[in-house]
């Protein structure tokens, strides 16, 4: 698929936080939500999601609880904690700054110097 992009290291956590910030989700739901908000441009290996989720829970950025999904199956739902929300804000700012900087660096023309 031409529209797909490789994830940069470290960005998976940010995407998960963002996806969950839009409302509590179970693991498969996180995957779908990321696909949806990135217009299916970002490819995530399905299994790789879970170690990341466990890591975020351990860091206290997410909290998890068992519930029932829309398919009427048992599933673990994740939602953002206060510190998760704060982290998402910081990381988003950081990312935007970095992206702007890189974008302007790449847009530089020879006569502008």
């Amino acid at each position: 698929m031409p529209g797909e992009a490789q994830l940069l290291p470290g960005t998976l956590d940010l995407l998960i936080l963002k996806a969950v910030s839009l409302g509590p989700l179970h693991g498969y739901g996180v995957l779908l939500r990321i696909g949806q908000i990135s217009d299916s441009a970002l490819l995530i290996e399905q299994g790789a999601l879970y170690p990341a989720l466990f890591r975020l829970v351990r860091q206290g950025l997410l909290k998890a609880s068992w519930g029932t999904s829309e398919n009427n199956r048992r599933a673990k739902f994740y939602e953002l904690t206060a510190s998760g929300r704060k982290r998402l804000r910081e990381e988003t700012d950081g990312w935007n700054r970095l992206a702007t900087a890189i974008a302007s660096a790449l847009a530089a023309e020879p006569e502008g110097l």
Binding site: G27, G29, E45, G47, Y50, P51, A52, R73, A75, K76
Partner: protein, 880 residues
Amino acid sequence: MRFLAYFRALAARFFHRSQTGDDVEEELRSHIQHRADDLERSGLDRAEAERRARIEFGGHQRFREECYEALGGTFIETLIKDVRFSVRVLRKSPGFTIVAVLTLALAIGANAVVFGVLNGLVLRPLNVPQAEGLYGTEYGDGSGWQSYRNYLDLRDRNRSFDGLAAWNFAFVGLDTGGDPSRAAGFAVTGNYFDVLRMQPYLGRFFHSQDEHGPHSAPYLVLSHGYWHSRFQDDRGVVGRVVRLNKRPFTIIGVAPPGFRGTLLFVSPDFFMPIVNQDESVMNARGRNDAVFEVFGRLKPGVTPAQAVADVNAVGAHLRKTYPKEFGQKSSSLSPSGLNAFGRPVRAFVAGLMLLAGLILLAACANLGSLFAAHASDRSREVALRLALGSSRSRILRQLLTEAVVISLAGGAAGLLGSVALLGRLSMWQPFPRAPIRVPVTPDATVYLVALALALVSGFLFGIVPVRQVLRTDPYQIVKAGPAGRFGRRLTVRDALLVLQIAICAVLVTSSMVAIRGLARTLYSNLGFDPRNTMLLNVNLGMAGYSGDRLPDMQTRMLHAMETIPGVERVGLVNDFPPLVYAAGSRANVFKDETTDLSQSNVAAMPFRYVVSPGYFGAARTSLLAGRDFTWHDDKYAPPVAVVNRAFAGKLLDSVANAAGRYYRMQDGTRVQVVGVVEDGKYLSVTEDQQPAMFLPFLQSPSSQVYLVVRSRRDPQELAAAMRSGLRELDAGLLLDTGTWNSLLDVALFPSRVAAVSLGVLGVMGAMLSITGIFGMAAYSVSKRLKELGIRLALGAPRKEVLQAALGRAFKLLAFGSAAGLILGMLASRVLASIVYQATPRDPLVLAGVVLAMLSLGLLATWIPAQRALSIDPVRLLREE
């Protein structure tokens, strides 16, 4: 606090382990179900949808592992999991496990025992406060013997020591009221306990200010052990008066329980002030038997090297001031505790440690090849785990855990055994007559070393199969099965086997060399014949005799012995007979023409023995020239001597011309040589030929003598008659009897210990090589069962099949043995210094080693050979 929380979380997770596991598992399953629901909705049937969902999910196993890791605290958790898994795997192959654990238990046990001895004798200082600062002086001839006068000068003139104390052995008769018995203690200077910074357990210690010249401080301090055994822990003992060699002494205190004097392997019964030694010994500057060791505490900031220079400066001053009496060349210092015994003990224990280390190395090589074989048998399992997404490092970690589990189990078993053995060893009293102990109670250091050895060896042999695992190609192995590659080329396993066999051959060689050396020692010419001879130690000093009464009484004792039926010859020798208690005294002698009798002109320092007429006959020392002493060589006759061949060769040119010639003693006396006897061994069986002189006892009386009684039959039968014969002369005599052979034990002790310990190590080496060869042969047979079966089915002769199955094992065995034999011979040169006549160039030893290794090989390959020959080709081919 965070640390604590971490552990709490860890503990919680540990106890709810399975719940967490289910949690992860359920969540992953739920994901796959949700995905399958979506796929089903797009038109697939349920089974196909679930299959697709699982494929899309990726390496299930790997992600599950990663989830656990993400949960944190996984090092310990993974470890616990690995240990559980290892125990399960090991339980499935009990044969392998038992062999591995036993091998390691033996190897680590041996190392722990040897280290325990090293720790007890060499590393651990004396059991006194701040023992590190204590140093004893040693002189050029490797001992600490010193005269009391020299000690006093050294004490007062040195600037390096914070107090300098001295001690000597004291063997006395101790009478608490009608029951005289022998006791062995230390005669110590008044400042002894103060220099050691000791406090009494009961009563008080004596001090410098208690000494006021000869016999001025009749006080006695008991050791805790002697107080316990002789005085039954009686607290009222302080203040009691007892008799030492008939003179009254007051018990003033008891030393603390852990204190056993200042020589590590001796535990004295008592301590008495050194000023109570004989005046003749104390006053003469030339009498080097007054002090056994001078020791002290270095002043803060003074290095041992500076102290040595200081002590030598005092020595130089004394040599200039007293050229006739002061003969010491130079001194050195060594940490207190072992004195002059330090060097041989250290060398021997270090040698043993080296051999024990070799055992451990051999065991690791052995286990390494076992482990590699085990791992290659499991290559299918490993390949499957790799294919299922497990990482290689994870598998290696698990294999290492397995190795460490084995090594810890083996280490624990070995440690238990060694603690028991060390306990026995420290209770052991090698000589019932001497207060000698081996202080080797294991302590924390021993446990730590055993643990470290176990871990290190676990890693050592666990690392062997690493390359194998790293190279594993899961697809190949799953497809072809593990039996595919059994190559001809030299593998790590082969190298390990050769190494191990070589090490074992070294051990077998050195043990054979040692044992053969000991056997030779027992049959070599000692210069006397210890068989059928009883030695009776009579100390007339303890019974209150002195002066002219000594030779009179000793003559009557000799005559009394002669009248006992069955007695053949009777003689008398002063102090200690040759090779008894490794004790003897030397004296300076000068050539007849020497007029300046200063130390630089000394012609020789022969051993000095004072003997009675008939001693040479009783000892069966043959007379080479001249005559024996007669009863007319008394104090009214001119001084005469009998010398040995080495003396004659050194001072008097030749044996034939020796008789009638003269030489001079330290005090200038001219002594005429009347006879020459054969050479012998005097202090130790390993010594070089030493000069010796024998003086008539009527001219040099001595209170401490041994009667030498040779009989026609077992002298033990006559012992009672001898004792009663002597008691008839004086009921108060303190007697100590033993055959000459039994008293040689002390002199032979080092050789015996060496032979026994090397023998044990040799047997262990042999056992290791059996298991090693057996493992290799059994493995190669089992790997090639199919091939061998086909050969048998095609009609190959049994010999050829055997050759195919075991030829390689034998080749490796031969190669390893040859290498080991050569190395062992080189190593045995070191042995020669401890074990008398230990020479590796002995055809018997050579043949013995070759035979031993060959029979070990046969023994170890017997079962695999039987298995190779009993293959039923039909059944085998049907199975595959």
